[in-house]
Every structure is written in C-alpha cells, then in structure tokens.
Point group: C2
Chain length 320, copies 2
C-alpha cells in the first residue's frame, strides 16, 4: 500500500483538508482561510507565547504517534498561558515537514493539537505548511487573563510558600524507560509522550493570590532558579517527605536511577510551580514543597544544599 | 578564529543576549522573560498569523545575510497583518538551529527581525530557541485593527476594480538572477533577499473601502485565485499596459525569461492585492490592474485567457 504524501497532496489541499475539520470556538471572529485570524480579547490584552518541537530533539516518530506529538506540542504552549494565570483561546501552528511525510501523519498531528486545545476551550485559528528536511511543529498560543492580573516570575517574596501542581519527573522517567528499550511502566511512557499539565490550576492560583508562577518545562530546579532570579530570592525545596509514585520507584530500580533526580530535574511535564503568601488558601491541585527566603545570591536550595548549574532537562542528544 | 556557537553559549545565555537588546513599544505590557508576553489590544480583538522560513527552502545562507533572513521572516507575517487592514503590534519568534551556528548569526537574524518590525511600530515580545539540524525561523505576528473592520478575501463584488500596491515579480527575478550565478542587477537580488511590503497601504486600503484584500506571497495569479474563490467571482487582470522595470527587462533578456511571468507568478514580494468599489478613491500606493466580474466558475483571467493550475511561486527545490 502506498500512502499519500503531503508532496502528492500539495500545500493548499493539505491546508484545506486540515481546516475543514477544525472546530471553532466563540472567541474566534475570523478563523483559518484569511491572511490572519482575528480572536476576541476579553481583557483588552492578549497573552502570547511560542514553542517549537523538532523531530529527533523533542520527539521520535518511533516512540510517539502523530497524535502524541500534536498534543505535546500544544501542551508546551498552553501550559505557558496557564502559568501566567490565563486561559488559552487560540493556537497558530507552523508545520514544517518532508514532502514524503504521509498526509495521515499531518492530519493526526493536527487532531492531537486540536484535542489538547479543546481541553482548555481553545482551537486552531491559523497556520502555515512548509517543506523541510525535519518535522518541526511551532505552536503559538494566545490567551486571556479574563480580568486577572498576570502572575509573573518576579513576584515571589521572602516568607511565601512554594507549591506545585501537576507531575514532576514523569516525562523524564518515561524517556529513560524508552531509552533503555523497555515499554513498561506504561504510565511513565505515556507521560513522556503526552504531558498532562494542570491547566485549570493556573487561573485558580492567580485567583488564590499567587505571587509568582512558572511552567516547569525545563525541570524543577532549573525553573525554580528562573523564578528565584527574577524575584531576587532563594527558593527552598524540601524533598524529604515526597511520595515517590510506585511506577517511578519500579522504573528507577530497574534502571539503577534515583527517582528523586527525575523529579528535581526532569522537564516537559509542565507542572505549575507557584509561590503564595503564607496565609493563602491554596487551590486543591497545589501541594507545598518549600518556601521562599530573602537572599543576596538568588538561587535554589534543595534539602539544605545550594544547587548550582542548570540542573535542568536535556532533550535527546542531537547529532549535528 | 573560532567563532562562538550557540551550542557554546547555551539556550538561556543566547536568549539573555537576544532579549537584552530588544526594543519595547508602548503596547507591550509584559515582554520577554516571563512564560508569555502580554500585549495590549486596542480594538478588543487581535489579528494573529504565523509563517515559517526554512533554510534551503526559503533562504540560503550563501545568498542572504542573517539580517536579510530576519527581515524576510518578519516581513512575511507583518504583510499578512497589513493585508487584513491592521497594524502589527508584536512578533513571537521560534528559532531552531544547529548548535554549531555562530551566535553572531542568531543575533544578526534577531536584529533583522527587529528592524523589520520597527518599520511598522512593532517589536519582538517572545520566542523560543531549540536545536535542529536545519535553521527554521517561525514568526507569529500580532496586530490591531484600530477600530477598522477586517478586510477579508471574500468581500469582492462584480464591478469592483482590482488594484495592487507594492512590487510584483522582483523577488522571483532576483532569485532567477542568483540561480544563474549572476550578482546583477543588484536591486532585484536585494528584493529577493529583503522584500519591501507596502505595510501602510493595508490600513489605508481598509479606510478607503477595500472590499477584499490579500498579501501576494505565492504569486499574483495564485493569490488572485484565492481571492476569487473566496469571493465567488472572476478576477480579471490586464497586463497589457504594465510598465516593466528596466532592471527586470535587462535581467530577463540576459536569462532569456519573460519578465511578465515573474510579475504574474513570482511570490515573496508581499504586494497587497485589493478590490475596491468602482467609485472609491484609491490610496496613492495602489495602481489599478484589473476588475472583478460575476462568475459561475470563480477563477483568474489574464489578458482575456482563463488561467488554470496554481500559477504560483515555487521555492527552491528541496532535495528530500
């Protein structure tokens, strides 16, 4: 069976096939098919972010389905909107791929992007399809604060509590399992293929008075450092009483790894790391994992030890 | 002399070096450095578009400087905003590149993006830097209608005049000259390297009552067809009395090409093609090149001959 490729179909027919099945939400004034989209902005301003996923760097086609890649690409941008306290409204997708890629792959990737966007009430409003030797999915997410003030990285104060919503280290553990040639535990591999960011927790944190927030895309220590440096404080993490998920303990002992390393440095789970005043009532999704201290040398302290270096997630090693 | 590469610098240092020199306009509430940007939207809605440029497909590093590539990448998206009748406010840039790329190239590309954005009063508000085997620049432009109604592709009526602002065929002519191994006429090669879209003509066309408009990125016939099909009309182009720029006549006779073909099918100049009511007073940038007719078979007629097929621009041939 010879599959139809996007080179056979051509750019315009592929775009037509993609756009004819796209859902459209109430915020979309003009969707795909014109030179730009037009999206309503409830708050008089728009949140906007771009993330790029590259085959061989952020995903492998033998490890992830096209749907997985679409969902993962959307999640990276959608989580950034949540981390500001916003709700995503729209995605724009730049899709670069070899012309011998099956059309089906492009359509399934789009379905994945749409499925993830639908979780937060957003949809794809525009895009571009171009030729490239390597599949590259660029996703811009737009979002609305719905009247909230944005929660920046720079607002943490000494005395705040540090809390996290969502998974830590699951994607890194799944990647380690896949790299070791295993296909179990499945829930970790699934977590590597498709993250499950706690989107709703972002606006809830803003409503609960979060002083600072960041999407954990590079790893807990690395992103805590971004927050610490932007706020001019020390972020103190206490991992002593963390409950290690059983699947992660199992995988770690199989591989000879320390699951706590995955949780401290693994990226791509898109947890939300936030600081709150000590007397704030935290949304149920958040668990306290530390505190904020004044510092002359802003950084990250884990279990009493100051951590230097990036301490973050490294994607697959590129051979260039 | 060994140049510093972006692999030497690392993602975060490169981002820091890029962002420290970025200008910032009044519309930017939150710029680079947080999980998303926040951009003011004057009209209660935001125009948004994405375009992707790939090395070897849309540019070659031996033919274009990094600044040229940045300007060209920005122009593709900024022209889309103009074609809706809007004014661009902000760019988001996804930059994928081999880690052995000199840092200087990335900085100059960013300077090119900024230079082009500055022409319309916009600036870079966010981005992403990732590893890839091929340089890929994804640019999202945001824009504001400033109270205007958007000018769609679908609004052309029988009896309207067809008019164009900006250059036709210059980029294609420059590409043909470069591909032939020549470096003259310089103005055509420059036009291929850096387009000069008539940004201001977009909002002016909207104010003058344009019924439909499109950015000529794929070629006059190809984009006229998009407009014709969206509006359900025939777009009639009369090229008989076109004045062929002297540089284009010279280049064409050197190569043995027909300059009119470049003007009818060459893309990437980002001219604006618009339709206006017959009694409209056209902005000075626009010249009338045809008319709109009712049709049961919407399409494009050039000098009395109905044109089928894409009739558009083909980028460099990719070897995949």
């Amino acid at each position: 069976m010879s599959e139809t490729t996007i080179g056979d179909t051509g750019e315009f027919d592929l775009i037509a096939r993609i756009t004819e099945v796209l859902p459209r939400t109430a915020q979309v004034v003009i969707g795909p098919g014109d030179d730009t989209a037009l999206v309503a902005t409830q708050s008089g301003s728009v949140l906007a972010t771009i993330d790029v996923l590259v085959e061989g760097v952020h995903f492998r086609r033998d490890w992830s389905s096209a749907t997985d890649v679409g969902r993962k690409a959307a999640a990276a941008s959608l989580a950034d909107i949540a981390a500001m306290g916003g709700v995503a409204t729209a995605l724009l997708v730049g899709f670069a791929a070899p012309w011998d890629l099956p059309v089906e792959w492009a359509l399934e990737c789009t379905a994945g992007l749409t499925a993830e966007a639908t979780k937060v009430g957003a949809c794809i409003v525009g895009g571009d399809v171009v030729a490239s030797s390597v599949i590259t999915v660029s996703v811009t997410a737009l979002g609305d604060l719905q009247g909230r003030s944005p929660v920046l990285r720079s607002g943490a104060h000494a005395g705040d509590v540090l809390a996290v919503a969502g998974r830590l280290g699951w994607s890194a553990a799944g990647l380690a399992v896949l790299a070791g040639g295993s296909c179990s535990p499945a829930e970790l591999i699934d977590a590597h293929r498709v993250p499950d960011p706690p989107y709703a927790a972002g606006p809830m944190a803003a409503d609960a008075g979060a002083t600072a927030m960041i999407d954990v895309s590079d790893g807990l220590i690395a992103d805590a450092r971004h927050l610490a440096e932007a706020s001019g404080v020390d972020v103190v993490i206490d991992s002593a009483d963390w409950i290690i998920p059983e699947s992660m303990s199992t995988a770690a002992s199989d591989i000879g790894a320390d699951p706590r390393d995955w949780m401290l440095t693994g990226g791509e789970d898109h947890a939300l790391l936030a600081t709150f005043p000590a007397d704030a009532v935290l949304p149920a999704e958040f668990r306290i994992i530390g505190s904020v201290m004044a510092s002359d040398e802003p950084g990250v302290i884990v279990d009493g030890v100051r951590r230097y270096g990036p301490g973050g997630h490294v994607h697959f090693t590129l051979e260039l």
